[in-house]
């Protein structure tokens, strides 16, 4: 059975990707899990300057979900490009560089920096981070801003360009179309939903940053709906994510129209998930005589 898939020029051995922010730059993952089960890995959201991130507490468990307010803690693009990527490249898994910025100029500068690295297989433009004040999600809730930021990256980056969208909008297809018009080769969806929790004993918000991003199985229905809507509205491939922790979850996303899937929160609970998901997809297909992944992609829409 052929599990390869294509994301706007980026060919993957199998459709399971490590979601940005739940894999770091691989150094710690590699000690607990087997990186070769990934079709590609998306690194932690990286900015030009190093960021210390938000004050703790940064996570809070919710019913079937996780709130996080990491706040894009990262060592800055220079360190990532000079130290992290060359090390990560040794494992021969395509690297997707997830980038975040506060302006179009910054996006373009950041993309240009990564364009000079020989280790980046694709860029993932994060216009959907709910945990930073300036920039972040603002780019992803307005079609024009999404267009401009995508365009800024497109002009300096020739390789596969992925734009990562937020579900915190009334009509995700309009944002998706803007990204595609500006030159996106693929779309990642979804990033987290904005949420919060309150500690009734202290009467204070649980997270140091007050609000955070909701991920995990709780958001799967919303994510599936976004993939369903967007994959009908645009011609480019979609990477589906949000609550995937089993082959069955992944199959739902593929059938909804995703060309590949990413596992985020699932990796935090269980570093073995990519193997289980990949093997499970294979078993499902083989039991039904399905020979290529493409036969499943969008199957629920036919």
């Amino acid at each position: 059975m052929n599990l390869t898939t294509d994301l706007g020029g980026l060919r993957l051995r199998n459709p399971v990707i490590a979601a940005s922010g739940t894999f770091g730059y691989g150094e710690d993952y590699i000690k607990a899990g087997d990186i070769s089960w990934f079709g590609a890995v998306s690194i932690k959201g990286t900015t030009i300057a190093p960021r210390a991130g938000n004050p703790p507490p940064r996570t809070c468990e919710t019913p079937s979900g996780l709130l996080n307010s990491i706040g894009l803690e990262n060592p800055g693009a220079k360190v990532v490009i000079e130290e992290k990527l060359p090390w990560l490249a040794q494992f021969d898994v395509p690297i997707i560089a997830n980038i975040s910025a506060e302006s179009c100029e910054e996006f373009s500068e950041l993309a240009a920096m990564f364009a000079r690295s020989p280790h980046v297989s694709a860029l993932e433009v994060n216009v959907s981070c709910p945990n930073v004040k300036a920039g972040g999600i603002a780019f992803g809730t307005n079609p024009d801003m999404c267009y401009e930021s995508t365009k800024a990256v497109r002009q300096v980056w020739q390789g596969p360009l992925i734009v990562k969208l937020t579900p915190n909008v009334a009509d995700i297809t309009s944002i998706a179309k803007a990204a595609v018009e500006a030159g996106a080769d693929a779309l990642s969806l979804i990033n987290t939903l904005v949420g919060m929790a309150i500690d009734v004993n202290t009467m204070r918000p649980v997270l140091g940053n007050i609000t955070g991003g909701l991920s995990g199985p709780a958001i799967k229905p919303v994510a599936l709906r976004c993939v369903w809507e967007v994959s009908r509205a645009v011609q480019v491939p979609v990477i589906g994510m949000g609550g995937i922790s089993s082959a069955q979850d992944a199959l739902e996303f593929l059938m909804a129209g995703a060309t590949a899937v990413a596992v985020g929160t699932g990796l935090l609970v269980d570093p073995e998930i990519p193997r289980r998901v990949t093997q499970g997809i294979r078993e499902y297909c083989e039991a039904r005589g399905i020979e290529t992944l493409q036969e499943i992609v969008g199957a629920a829409r036919r």
């Binding site: 710690d28 993952y29 996570t59 990491i70």
Partner: protein, 275 residues
């Protein structure tokens, strides 16, 4: 490819027992972890197939038995996860990720002037293994251990014989009546300390206790290691959720799960820590 140092095992529970009150102890058959774990490392325990609760729960290794391939954890029931675990039975299997965290390299510590362990509540659990390793190195080990009341104490019988145990309870139901830090101060006042002969101190327990211990150690010039707890999502370094503010040379945050849980007290800012 993987550079496996952390094992995700589906392990058999050998025994679960109620130590006293809300405190439980569990032995798990996990040779990979037992064979490689250091004192003061921890494991992340999966609660089952349901996604509510979703995350694993971190627990320090209160016992490491490489020969028998067994690890042991000790916990207090404080919420849903620990409650579920209290219902587990010998023979069941449990998913355990570990060993996690930096742990303690006892060989690198100066034990010439003895080791002082200061623990509060379940904070004693991770100190059983270093206590026994230090004693094996013939160090003098003084253990200061406090809890709200006798009912909240762990099984101090698990402390290797040879340690000098100093008990304190807030309600006076056992040992000294008052805070363990008061007992520690009283002890240091009597003993005196002089200029040289500074024992190494390791402390684990609630944040206010740790702050007080740090204060005392600073005054006496004792080197202090603390073991921290913070809300964790992954426990193995990938999510950056377990941030603790740094002090000293590094700016920003450390990750408790990989940079810690054991830190030199001077390296972290206990003041800003939550909990």
């Amino acid at each position: 490819m993987s550079l496996q140092q952390i094992y995700d095992v589906e392990a058999r529970i050998i025994s679960v027992s109620n130590v006293r009150g809300k405190v439980y102890k569990m032995a798990i058959d996990a040779p990979e972890i037992a064979g490689t774990a250091k004192p003061m490392q921890f494991v992340n325990v999966a609660l089952g197939d349901s996604t509510d609760p979703l995350l694993r729960r971190p627990f320090s290794l209160s016992g490491i038995y490489p020969d028998r391939g067994i690890i042991e954890i000790t916990w207090a029931v404080v919420g849903r996860g620990t409650e579920i675990m209290a219902g587990w039975q010998a023979g069941q299997s449990v998913k355990v990720l570990g060993p996690l965290g930096n742990g303690l390299d006892i060989a690198n510590l100066c034990l010439d002037h003895g080791l002082i362990l200061v623990a509060g509540g379940t904070g004693l659990a991770p100190l059983f293994p270093p206590a026994s390793q230090a004693l094996a190195r013939k160090a003098e080990v003084n253990v200061f251990y406090g809890a709200r009341s006798a009912d909240d104490l762990l099984d101090t019988g698990d402390l290797v014989t040879g340690c000098r145990l100093h008990l304190a309870t807030e309600d006076g139901s056992t040992g000294f009546e008052g805070l363990v830090t008061d007992l520690l101060e009283a002890h240091l006042g009597v003993q005196g300390t002089g200029d040289n002969g500074k024992p190494t101190v390791i402390s684990c327990g609630p944040k206010p206790m740790l702050k007080q211990v740090k204060h005392i150690c600073n005054r006496h010039g004792f080197p202090l290691l603390v073991s921290l707890e913070e809300r964790m999502a992954c426990g193995y370094g990938v999510c950056q959720g377990c941030a603790v503010p740094s002090a000293g040379r590094k700016s920003g945050y450390y990750r408790v799960c990989t940079d810690g849980p054991v830190f030199w007290a001077d390296d972290i800012d206990l003041g800003e820590c939550t909990r």
